[in-house]
């Protein structure tokens, strides 16, 4: 019975939700508290979604749900018209997530860090060398390529984490306060890389308190879905 149900679900195209990336009636519970509920969105290739709201309004929790790290308490996410639970690994392959922490190991150099993540993202060895070099140049890290993580400043660590976005290609970028600790020049580089990503048909969802240049970004105010 169950297999029949699954089969029929994968055979019939979802009628209304033909959009590229969408979520319906998402809810998030942290501890015993309902953080947000009934949150729905749809995004097409090339679009950006800016999450607004005060601290604690659920921006980070929402991004973790979108990344597939947490499960929503209710609702469903669809990628290319299919629920992400159907093929979680295929969805994961199209996601790059930048969270609060930069995942920099004190004992690894910048080049090693980017190389490691790139190889796990399944990028070919020959392309990887080129790709990491380009990513480091973009965020002004080329001169620091062999510097170990322990010697980096907060802003430099963040730049390494952002450079990971440019290693290989992923369609969906999820950025949680990406501009934290960045200087003006790096914020510009971030803005440019987001613009280039969108021009290629990529989607960006980010939360930020800083001013990042995002032409025609859609806005989503978390307070509209809060339950207080």
């Amino acid at each position: 019975m169950r297999s029949l149900f699954k089969h029929s679900r994968s055979m019939t195209p979802l009628p209304i939700l033909a959009s590229f990336f969408s979520g319906q009636n998402l809810a998030c519970v942290r501890g015993e508290r309902l953080v947000f509920a009934d949150l729905s969105f749809t995004l097409e290739p090339g679009e950006a979604l800016l999450l607004l709201g005060p601290n604690g309004s659920g921006k980070s929790s929402f991004l973790r749900i979108l990344a597939g790290l947490s499960r929503p308490a209710a609702g469903e996410l669809c990628w290319k018209g299919r629920p992400i639970d159907e093929a979680p690994e295929r969805y994961t392959a199209s996601v790059r997530y930048v969270g609060h922490q930069d995942a920099i190991k004190p004992a690894l150099s910048i080049a090693e860090t980017l190389f490691f993540w790139g190889s796990l993202y399944g990028i070919e060895q020959s392309e990887l060398v080129f790709s990491t070099a380009r990513a480091m140049t973009y965020f002004g890290l080329s001169a620091l390529a062999d510097t170990q993580g322990r010697l980096l400043s907060a802003g430099q660590k963040r730049r390494v984490n952002l450079a990971r976005l440019l290693v290989g290609t992923a369609a969906l970028w999820l950025l949680d306060e990406p501009a934290t600790a960045l200087d003006q020049e790096s914020i510009m580089a971030l803005g440019k890389s987001i613009a280039a990503h969108r021009a290629r048909g990529g989607i960006v969802i980010l939360s930020t308190h800083m001013v990042v240049d995002l032409p025609q970004a859609r806005r989503l105010d978390m307070r509209d879905f809060s339950c207080h």
Binding site: L69, R71, A93, A103, W117
Partner: protein, 224 residues
């Protein structure tokens, strides 16, 4: 498979560059074992009688000491989030962590154990059995430990909690590890039996603990 090797390679690189971890574990093992002759006196019979037990208990405690770093660092610095978002099954990442953990703790412990056993007057037959038993038993210790290390992520006082969770589960390995040595040094029949049971324990924990650790990590990420 290539990804698995790359993951293990990174783990090894991290541990070897920070050196202290492996040496701490080895140092703890050797020093605590060497304390016993001071306490119980130098009589060979007495030392031999307790050598297997002392070596196994200390190897077990040394393993426990190193479990903290298995997932905790990656959890705290955000690497675990990123590892979970790599297009690989989380179980592969768990396995790579466990293998790297064994290579940097279980294996070194197995290598130094025969020298310490000789110091404690263990007979040659017993030493051979001890090395085989530790080679079979320490991977099981790493596997069971991984479940505990994943379960306590995000908990306060996690190292004590880990100890209480994991120590009881180590008892079977301890029992058959000591039995293997005693049966061999007494020259009794059926010397392979305890070793076979240790091998069976490893075969059972390999799939069970990998799955349990994966589930525990998902839980930690979900609430993280």
């Amino acid at each position: 498979m290539r990804a698995l090797i790359r993951l293990i390679h990174r783990e090894m690189k991290l541990v070897l560059r920070q050196q202290s971890d492996t040496f701490l574990v080895l140092g703890f093992f050797m020093l605590t074992v060497l304390l016993f002759p001071f306490v119980v006196g130098p009589e060979p019979q007495m030392l031999e009688r307790m050598s297997a037990g002392v070596l196994w208990v200390m190897a077990l405690l040394a393993t426990l000491l190193s479990l903290d770093r298995l997932f905790q660092n990656d959890y705290e610095d955000g690497s675990l989030d990123l590892l979970a978002l790599v297009p690989l099954p989380l179980t592969v990442i768990v396995l790579s962590k466990v293998i790297a953990h064994w290579l940097t703790t279980g294996l070194p412990l197995t290598v130094v154990a025969p020298f310490l056993a000789k110091l404690l007057q263990m007979q040659t037959d017993g030493v051979t059995a001890l090395v085989i038993a530790m080679a079979l038993g320490t991977p099981t210790l790493s596997l069971i430990g991984a479940v505990g290390a994943a379960l306590v992520l995000g908990a306060r006082r996690s190292s004590i909690l880990l100890l209480l969770l994991i120590l009881p589960l180590y008892i079977p390995v301890l029992v058959f590890g000591v039995a293997a040595v005693e049966v061999a040094s007494l020259g009794l029949e059926g010397q392979q039996a305890p070793l076979l049971i240790l091998a069976a324990l490893f075969c059972a924990t390999l799939p069970l603990c990998s799955l349990a650790t994966t589930a525990a990590l998902r839980q930690a990420l979900d609430s993280g």
